[in-house]
Symmetry: C2
Amino acid sequence: MTNGILAMSEYIEHDREGITVGLVEKRFFTFAEPPNEMKLDSGAKLGPVTIAYETYGELNSDRTNAILVCHALSGDSHAAGYYTEKDVKPGWWDIMVGPGKGIDTDKYFVICSNILGSCMGTTGPSSTNPLTGRPYGLDFPLVTIGDMVEAQKVLLDHLRVKKLLCVVGGSIGGMQVLEWSVRYPDMVESAIPLATTPRHSALAIAFNEVARQAIMADPNWHAGHYYSRERPDHGLAVARMIGHITYLSEESMREKFGRRLQDKCDFSYDFDADFQVESYLRYQGRKFVERFDANSFLYITKAADYYDLAKDHGNGSLVKAFSKTKAKFLVVSFTSDWLYPTHQSKTIVEAIKRSWGDVSFCEVEAKWGHDAFLLPNPRLTSLIRGFLENVSNTL
Amino acid sequence: MTNGILAMSEYIEHDREGITVGLVEKRFFTFAEPPNEMKLDSGAKLGPVTIAYETYGELNSDRTNAILVCHALSGDSHAAGYYTEKDVKPGWWDIMVGPGKGIDTDKYFVICSNILGSCMGTTGPSSTNPLTGRPYGLDFPLVTIGDMVEAQKVLLDHLRVKKLLCVVGGSIGGMQVLEWSVRYPDMVESAIPLATTPRHSALAIAFNEVARQAIMADPNWHAGHYYSRERPDHGLAVARMIGHITYLSEESMREKFGRRLQDKCDFSYDFDADFQVESYLRYQGRKFVERFDANSFLYITKAADYYDLAKDHGNGSLVKAFSKTKAKFLVVSFTSDWLYPTHQSKTIVEAIKRSWGDVSFCEVEAKWGHDAFLLPNPRLTSLIRGFLENVSNTL
């Protein structure tokens, strides 16, 4: 098993972010070649399926140290390290995943794969439809959080990982964590769902729906078949801006922007961006369209809206759903997260307790809103480190 | 002075909403004919200006019973009653304004006018630019909350109203109330700002900016010059949906929609509206574009974002700004309003107190979010009724 760490010793000298896993490589695994397509929750079939993934650290000889990291809406397989020495930014969770970090790659073998339906190397609506030779567009079948987990399971089989010391992830990644714990109870020793919910509130669905409407209202969207022409960048940018508002807290926005003006002393009295918060959102929108596919945004948000752990696994009862799991849980919410507020995490905790499960819970003090799980937070790091050590020691 | 009530006796028989002011008429008043244009806060000039307005009740002989009602973003001059006997819906605040109601038209002379920059009869970006003979579009100058108040002042002069017993309004209407109290302290006996703020938070600006971006991203917007062609309906619908989310509370959405499906037993596995909340938002978007102008949405939201009472009237100090007013205040916030949360109303109350002003404050228990000020609420009605009686009695 190669470990995804290339030429680390040379790299560390150039490292601008402290110790990291160094240079890493995105890999691909393809399965479900027709006629053996993957059967989806909707009943539709999909194949072939390619999964983009990365690994960090080494799988130990008894294969007991594997940790699966699940990413959120716009994430990818690149959780840690750098692809090249020229990369300015490391992977999206480099603060947590690396040598000596909260998820210590000196101890654990970490796997992160791009989710089904995304556009970062794993099969999604922008991939080629083998029936037409052109991108799927909306001919891509709707996928669920469960389907994403199924694809990860096939990847783990390929990597000969039979047991996960832990599954960890935030937001939609947290939904995958919950799903793993009940879908493959014998494989999951422990689970860390961060800043997540067992199902979307009407408010969360509403934000997603308006974001989708922004994309579908863009005439360049062309009912999803835009790959050979101009893309629905305007709609996707607006969708991203809507998302960004929900990722921040009122407090963090006040502190970060307040009513400060952007590069001017007084109002412009036109529709330019006057306030820094306006510039920030426009910038986030512009930046996002360079790297993300509008259809993938539609598919992944819909999967999140559909997700309903109690309905899917407990006949409507969350307690019943969690009675299937054998995992130890560490559930973490963040004080200023108003997208998936603490009371939703507490619903998870209560249900696990009532199903006689093993659960620790922490509401972490953080002012950065839903995004807090992605940002440096010593409390979160030490919580995860301690929990993983505990789970390892009691194997 | 006619009182805007026509054929009320015949009408009451058909009334489906209890007692109302009956049939009313929208009127128009035009001023600032060139070369005597209105001078705006931005320094630009605007004229002629037409104000659409309605009045209910009668001005008493000593002209001491006039109440100005200020509407919010998408409102109009039609606060109460019906235009025709066939109208299904009465004016937007008919629950509050009428005979025997919280704002009792048997006692008070009520004026409501459409704000400058809107599209409901008052001059705005969809009005004809006298220089071109075509609609202004973005050639319409940016207007401020102060400019809206100035236009209302000219209307009151026209109606020979020298003193206002009260100025009352919610949301952006509440900003006009605050502005009136400091801009014309000798005219305002009392003021009732509801569900409002002395200035927008970064969060409120962010929502408005994304809504504006949704409009401006619509290719039919054509930099505001779309009046002779297809309109930016898609963009405006998305903008409205964004707004609607902020007007509701998480609790009200949970109660109203939860995760209930719309006319189906299971997920569609496509991008139709599966959930009721999705259908509701799409419907609100569709309905809005039938009655509102996209450019007016841009102008009014920008005016709200610019509004900053302390900056405009107190050199940065809210206390200093309020030291100019002589009005008695009733400040009301609503528990579930997260767009203009209670702490923003408390900022108003504190500043009035510290300027030695006369202020009562109430946080009304209401689960409907920011929209609560528009909805039936016995507590709000009795608060307003009592406050007005008190102000009348101490004249």
